[in-house]
């Protein structure tokens, strides 16, 4: 079958985007700027500004001298990429194969599509009309090859005021002849070289020997020429719209009972989980939206600690929150959505029953239930960290699966119960660096019978400034054991004593 391509050029894409968002800019000359090497450069200008002689690439100061009322706005390049992708997805209504053509174009593979609109003319008119009606200026060309369509859209329409052009099937080489060399999508250096040589149209050099063309302008130039002529295949990379994991359940009669909501949820979960299962994905976050008869939307959200498509578990998670849904006069539509999904491989499923220890999925299900009810900040797991400073000797684990990267220190004895922060105590100590004789904590005097220490722990100066701690393990006459420390040197007179923990 004959291939047909449509190239869409949006010459004022960036400025049109701003005009669509802020309609008052329509008749105001404005430019987009971005800093470059210490000055402001114009990255795009609208039609009004262009009429006054302002061009892209000028310094903003020069443009202001030309047109004092010029409005500069900050350029947002990331917005344009997003917009192009959205437009490409929207263009899937015209053909299944749409590619973005940065920086400001779209490519449509229209092979076998145009007859549905009643011919090329009407097809292209529809595309141009629809994009125009959204507020974007557009030029489109249709041809047998990507190269000619691209060139015609940008350079074939220069003279005419028409914004669409159709190259009849089989006549694309003719159309190419009168185009300038830059219409071939070649590097600007090569096209300027061609201009210098007086080769201002394709027909002037297309019949030259290929060997000499390659020698002077490189293999890439010849490749572009072949692509435009249709002698070399050119593939385009179509945009694939993200498939949303969403299931809908409209109800014949409005649902008012809890049992009804549960049945609806069960059905939605089963279909959604089957889809996820086939795609080897699992839910991390799911939202159940209930559209009520009176127009309000009730919704509940759940989150899981590891991706899951296990209906029973997800149902249980929702079950905790279902009571918060108020059906009022009735719910007529349920939508279950999974905004966050992650890869969930089948081999994990096999381990469902026999995996042991912390990897067991039943444990993560338990954690999901608890965080679902009591909040995310309720479950903690700790891993060793390579610090001697007690407060930093452990760190919060990222999840249930994170494994320790280092060993727990066991050669130093640490108290099981710790006071956070350490509490001040009164101490009587006999001689420097000896353990204290007694200490007063919460108005109770503890006479120290036996002691171990000191164990000096220095501050990690690269993390925190402060004095070192001298730790003592002490035991009072009743047999209770404590962890005390002196902050600072004994001789400094500024030292303080603290109790930090309780030994078993």
């Amino acid at each position: 079958m004959e291939k047909r391509f449509v190239s869409i050029w949006l010459p004022y894409l960036k400025t049109d985007l701003f005009t669509v968002r802020q309609p008052h800019l329509k008749d105001v000359p404005f430019v987009l700027r971005s800093p470059s090497r210490g000055r402001m450069l114009i990255t795009a200008c609208n039609v009004c500004a262009e009429r006054s002689g302002i061009r892209t690439g000028m310094a903003l100061a020069d443009a202001r001298a030309l047109l004092p009322e010029l409005q500069p706005l900050d350029d947002k390049p990331e917005l344009v990429d997003k917009l192009l992708t959205r437009m490409a997805e929207w263009c899937i209504r015209f053909t299944p194969v749409v590619a973005i053509d940065p920086p400001d174009g779209l490519l449509l593979d229209a092979s076998g599509c145009a007859h549905l609109w009643g011919g090329d003319e009407k097809y292209l008119a529809d595309i141009v009309g629809k994009i125009n009606s959204k507020g974007y200026q557009v030029r489109a060309a249709m041809a047998d090859t990507v190269g000619v369509a691209w060139g015609m859209a940008r350079f074939g329409l220069r003279q005419t005021h028409n914004n669409k052009i159709i190259v009849e099937p089989g006549r694309h080489i003719e159309a190419l002849m009168s185009l300038p060399p830059e219409a071939l999508r070649i590097e600007p250096e090569i096209s300027s070289k061609l201009h210098k040589l007086g080769l201002k149209q394709v027909k002037q050099f297309i019949r030259m020997p290929r060997a000499s063309l390659r020698k002077r302008f490189g293999i890439h130039f010849l490749m572009r020429l072949d692509m435009a002529l249709g002698q070399e295949f050119e593939s385009i990379e179509p945009v694939v719209p993200v498939e949303r994991y969403q299931e809908r359940l409209p109800c014949l009669e409005p649902i008012t009972t809890a049992a009804g909501i549960e049945i609806a949820l069960q059905q939605l979960l089963e279909t959604l989980c089957l889809r996820l299962h086939n795609d080897q994905l699992g839910i991390r976050t799911a939202v159940l939206k209930c559209f009520r008869v009176d127009g309000k939307v009730e919704q509940v959200t759940i989150g899981t600690h590891r991706p899951s498509h296990y209906v029973k578990h997800l149902f249980k998670l929702f079950g905790i929150k279902l009571s918060s849904i108020e059906p009022a006069l009735g719910i007529e539509l349920f939508i279950l959505e999974a905004p966050v999904v992650e890869e969930h491989l089948a081999q994990q499923e096999v381990m469902w029953e026999d995996s042991q220890g912390i990897e067991d999925p039943r444990i993560s299900e338990l954690i999901d239930r608890i965080t679902g009810k009591a909040g995310n900040d309720t479950v903690h797991r700790y891993l060793p960290d390579e610090h001697y400073w007690p407060e930093r000797s452990f760190k919060l684990a990222g999840g249930l699966t994170e494994q320790p990267s280092t060993q727990w220190l066991t050669h130093k004895i640490r108290p099981l119960q710790i006071l956070q922060p350490p509490e001040r105590i009164e101490v009587t100590a006999p001689i420097p660096d000896y353990p204290p004789m007694l200490f007063i904590y919460k108005n109770k005097i503890h006479n120290i019978v036996r002691a171990d220490g000191p164990e000096r722990i220095e501050q990690e100066w690269w993390l925190q400034q402060g004095q070192h701690r001298d730790y003592y393990r002490v035991e009072d006459e009743t047999g209770n054991r404590y962890w005390l420390f002196r902050l600072g040197h004994y001789h400094d007179k500024t030292y303080q004593w603290f109790i930090h923990g309780f030994f078993p």
Binding site: H380, P384, Q417, R450, F503
Partner: protein
């Protein structure tokens, strides 16, 4: 004759226990050997697993001792990959210190909740989870009905639960737990009169044990295991002897 009579009584006792639903657990043999003379207090000379043990503590010091004793038990119960859930409000535990009792702190999951009702709910949920080995809950107020609920949850899943109750002495309601303990610190056990604190040592009071014999022991923790030594006969035992005599 006497020996054979004792044998008959022992056999009958174990039969009764079996009829009452006490089963010999497979995994607890290391625990039973590790408990030393303490094991005689339990029915069938087996530490009861798949049930809830209650620990009373009235101060931070005794709470540390209780934690350590439970840590020792968990160490022997959980084997190579057991996971423990620790439920509490206002947790004071220092996770790295668990490593001193041969435990792997990364296999502990700490659930920190504020409301008493949430604590009980989380404990109930955790006890139902068969993938866990032990569940430790620091819950101060547990009514008899609530403890029954927890006990029922645990009977299904065979998880061993430890309930730590920080309450004032003699102000504890009855509960459906299988045992009640009180652990207090004793002066550390010294080795050959060397200076320093030595090995930690506690007084372990088993105040109540279903189908067993309560008593008091001195237990110290040395070289990664318990070292138990029976202190005295409890009044309950004495009464029994009187009856026999």
């Amino acid at each position: 004759m006497v020996v054979s009579r004792n044998d008959i009584i022992l056999k009958l006792q174990s039969d009764i226990l079996r009829l009452q639903g006490f089963k010999q657990e497979r995994g607890s043999s290391s625990l039973n050997s590790g408990l030393g003379s303490l094991v005689n207090a339990f029915p069938n000379s087996t530490f009861p697993t798949g049930c809830i043990h209650e620990f009373l503590s009235d101060s931070k010091e005794s709470s540390a001792a209780t934690t350590a004793f439970i840590g020792g038990l968990v160490n022997m119960l959980s084997g190579t990959s057991g996971v423990t859930v620790w439920i509490s409000s206002g947790r004071k535990l220092f996770p790295p210190a668990l490593a001193n009792f041969g435990l792997h702190p990364e296999r502990f999951i700490f659930i920190d909740l504020k409301k008493e009702r949430d604590l009980l709910w989380a404990m109930d949920e955790a006890l139902k989870c068969e993938a866990l080995t032990t569940v430790i809950g620091e819950i101060d107020a547990v009514t008899f009905t609530e403890s029954r609920r927890l006990q029922l949850a645990v009977e299904q899943s065979n998880v061993t639960g430890f309930l730590i109750r920080n309450t004032v002495r003699n102000k504890v309601a009855t509960s459906a737990c299988v045992s009640r303990w009180r652990i207090t610190s004793l002066p550390g056990e010294r080795l050959d009169d060397l200076p320093g604190i030595g090995f930690p040592k506690w007084q372990v009071e088993l105040l109540r044990i279903r189908n067993g014999k309560p008593g008091t022991w001195e237990v110290s923790w040395r070289q990664g295991g318990f070292d138990t030594h029976r202190l005295q006969e409890t009044p309950h035992d004495i009464r029994e002897h009187r009856m026999l005599g």
